[in-house]
Amino acid sequence: MIKLINAALAIVAGVGGMLALFWILNAIVERLPGRWEERLKPYVFIGPAVALVGLFLVYPAVQTVIYSFADKNSQKWVGFENYKALWNDDNFRSALLNNLLWILVVPAVSVVIGLLIAVLADRLRPTSEKVAKSVIFMPMAISFVGASTIWRFVYDTRFAEGDEQIGLLSAITTGLGFDPVSWLRLDAWNVNDFLLMAIMIWLQAGFAMVLLSAAVKGVPEDTLEAARIDGANELQIFFRVVVPQIWPTVIVVFTTVLILVMKVFDIVYVMTGGNADTDVVANIFVEELIEFGDDGRAAAVVVVLMIAVIPVMIYQVRRFRMQEAGR
Amino acid sequence: MATVRFEKAQRWYPGADTPAVPGIDLEIEDGEFMVLVGPSGCGKSTTLRMLAGLEEVNSGNVYIGDRDVTKLSPKDRDIAMVFQNYALYPHMTVADNMAFALKMAKVPSEERKVRVREAAGILGLTDYLDRKPKALSGGQRQRVAMGRAIVRQPQVFLMDEPLSNLDAKMRVATRTDIAKLQADLGITTVYVTHDQIEAMTMGDRVAVMNFGELQQVDTPLSLYDRPNNRFVAGFIGSPAMNFLEGEMTDGGLRIGDYDLPVPRDVLQKATDGVVVGVRPEHFEIASDNNGIPIEVTLVEELGADAYIYGTTDVQGTPGHLVVRGLARRDVAKGSTVYVSADAERIHVFDKATEKRLN
């Protein structure tokens, strides 16, 4: 109860405080002579936002790069030791490879499933379409931890004699006559990795579907009709007419999921803790930071992640510029 | 109520190669209806927006009354503006839309109500005061935008193509409404349009602009009768003026086999040849063959009179000519008629400078 009152107070104080801050700053600026008022006012408006971004993103990013060249408590400089140590760490290397696998599989499969649903559901009756899309979209509301719990149950296996399988996957495979397997430990052909990726795909396909669906519905009807008159069959129309027109959206969805995949640790952290050769880079960060308390290494892991997103960032900024030029 | 004065006011958009308005000098009298007219992109809106304070004035000055408003923000200029798309606040009722500026000026709510009712009455909006803009027709929205301006009783009204979103019929009706309203209120008004008929019918005076420069500021009739230069001559009037060129002779201009008399002293002022402008109504169909032969391609019968469109291959003529003739004369398409100009009513321009010579 006390906590809720605290929260209510926080809302009132936080929101009220921010309002008061804006109001006071604004009032001060408005008292200044004309020129100064016009000049300073924009900074009053963006000030708090810039302060937050500076304090919580820009400053830490710079600081993290610096820490990555220091030892575990940032007491002395170690040069590239942290990076070398990571490179020589088998676990980190396998995490890099796993990440690569995630990047290759998850965005592509999410896009394909999303597009499949977007296109197929478009042809159902309105109610069915709505229901189908809501079902696929629903996992968007579920946390990675929640999703992990759901799927951990699906992947559960029991080995004791006479125990029935209560995990869906094992129930099916044993029902088909196979021996029970501990799915999340099955690292042959990266099976366990793929099972973890399935969770991510399950979560993200809805996002892909929503954006792609909007794009597909935005394809002008007359281009389809023109193609039909030109004698194209439905598959040709899809690949030659529809896909090129929605391609920009495909790229958007792909990169968004890609970035997410690069930095999500929750699923691995909760499902396997990185064991059985399932670790990913973002999870190694948490391990280094919490379990080993090695801030230097943790910082170095982050720098690796940052470097990995730089190309996407550049691409993003360029796209934004082009979009603005056309505004 | 106040005068408005631009003194070499310049607007140079950031990143542009040339200024949109290099420096405009314009004086508008108290209570006057001034129309800014010109082709698209000539800087009319820019000029108006400098007066509104929506564009920075890069150099020069703008005065409202005796006040130098060059550096003032819009809210301190005591002006009201009607925008092309009306800019009604979508989430407010008509009454709230009209009261907004008064509220900003801290007018007491009683007085606000009275003034809004009054303005609504003038504009016939009384029944719509509680509606949101979405639920109004285009013409009603236009009137709300007008109402928003007049409740303010500002020093100056600014209007940027306020009629361009109405259909042709509404436009004609509203045109006269606005002119009358302005005359009744007597508030100095600057009105931007690209439509020269609007300009001619509404303005006390009209300022014609081209490429950011003022070409001529005058009453509508003076503009029509004595255009300062070739641009104004061609821009004002519909159908447009015909421009003829020819060989300069001693007492006139020789166009094909036709001699158009032009006073000698006028011709002498020319630096490099002249261009003569003749309005369609100042051509006459010659009874004999003394004139410019044109082959009739189209006859526009208007009942009261007729416009004859024709082509000619005489050197120096524009190829197409428009002549106003008498109605029901049965000039046949394809026939050839000879036309001659009324020498008293011609406009002579310098070919190089395009300035008026007579």
Partner: protein, 304 residues
């Protein structure tokens, strides 16, 4: 992100009243279409149903056989029980974690929206030196991994003894959410008619006034979209909560659920009930406000 919102005003979720004669668009065998969609939906739904069903079964039943066996006799009400919920909420602390999650989420949603709305207004309607550069920075930060923030922030917070407090998470979420909030809101505001803002200026409204009386009311769809987005993000977040709040008195549902998995990994009746509690509020918000959320997504989004 930077998704050029589709020019046609379509609802990507589909639904009544907005279907042009689209049934004819393709003539692929409609049985195949329906079967495929049904199959995918089943695949998407079954794991969640398993969770839901198991959470209402008794411990013995959950451990005895698969949850799908209930469908043999679903109407036998004696098999349904709320025991697991009782145990999770009161014995395992999921109840207080739920309250904590609310305490964390609501301020962490509202505060950044307001700050971002002011900034978005300035980025859209004001001219000032450095504007474009700052905005490019915002766009760039959209994709920066949150992880960059933790090492320095943990130290900074511990200096002021903020670690483990709600204030730390509120601030952190406000900061982390800022780029996306500014980005979404600015894109929306840029689509509002500029004339309206100019008209307000001529009418004598200050920027502050224009912001509150005009821009905020007209931006409600975007504000709502971002609010839902941020709400889901904060509620579902594990990383920030793990590092700044941790386990214990102030723990939120995601942390509580993680600990349930760690400590009681095979007690499926408890795990399923706990997971469901952690999901129920976001699911409710999500289904109630799906329209806004979808609009927010299509208006352009990526989470940093």
């Amino acid at each position: 992100m930077t998704q050029a919102a589709p020019t046609v005003d379509v609802d990507p979720m589909g639904g009544e009243g907005q279907k042009p004669p689209r049934a004819q668009r393709f003539t692929l065998g409609s049985v195949v279409v329906r079967a495929t969609v049904a199959l995918l939906c089943l695949l998407w739904l079954v794991p969640t149903i398993g969770l839901l069903v198991s959470s209402f079964r008794s411990e013995e039943a959950v451990k005895e056989d698969g949850w799908w066996t209930v469908f043999a006799s679903p109407l036998e009400f004696s098999q349904w029980t709320l025991d697991s919920y009782d145990s999770v909420i009161f014995d395992q602390g999921m109840g207080s974690a739920f309250l904590n999650s609310i305490v964390v989420t609501v301020p962490a949603t509202i505060i950044p929206i307001m700050i971002a709305a002011f900034a978005a207004y300035a980025f859209t309607f004001m001219r000032f030196p450095g504007r474009d550069l700052l905005f490019i920075l915002v766009v760039g930060l959209l994709v920066v991994p949150l992880q960059v923030a933790f090492v320095p922030l943990l130290r900074l917070f511990s200096q002021y003894e903020l670690n483990g407090t709600f204030l730390a998470v509120w601030l952190a979420h406000a900061g982390f959410g800022m780029p996306l909030a500014i980005y979404i809101l600015r894109n929306y505001m840029a689509s509002l008619p500029h004339e309206i803002i100019e008209s307000a200026a001529v009418d004598g409204a200050s920027h502050f006034r224009t912001f509150w009386s005009l821009v905020v009311p007209m931006s409600v769809p975007a504000l709502a979209a971002y609010a839902i987005f941020q709400f889901l993000w904060v509620w579902n977040d594990l990383l920030v909560a793990l590092l700044f709040l941790g386990a214990g008195e102030n723990e939120v549902v995601t942390i509580n659920l993680r600990d349930l998995i760690g400590d009681l990994g095979q007690e499926w009746h408890l795990l399923t009930a706990g997971a469901f509690i952690s999901m129920v509020l976001p699911l409710a918000v999500f289904f109630a406000l799906q329209r806004y959320f979808v609009r927010g997504l299509t208006a352009g989004s990526v989470k940093g």
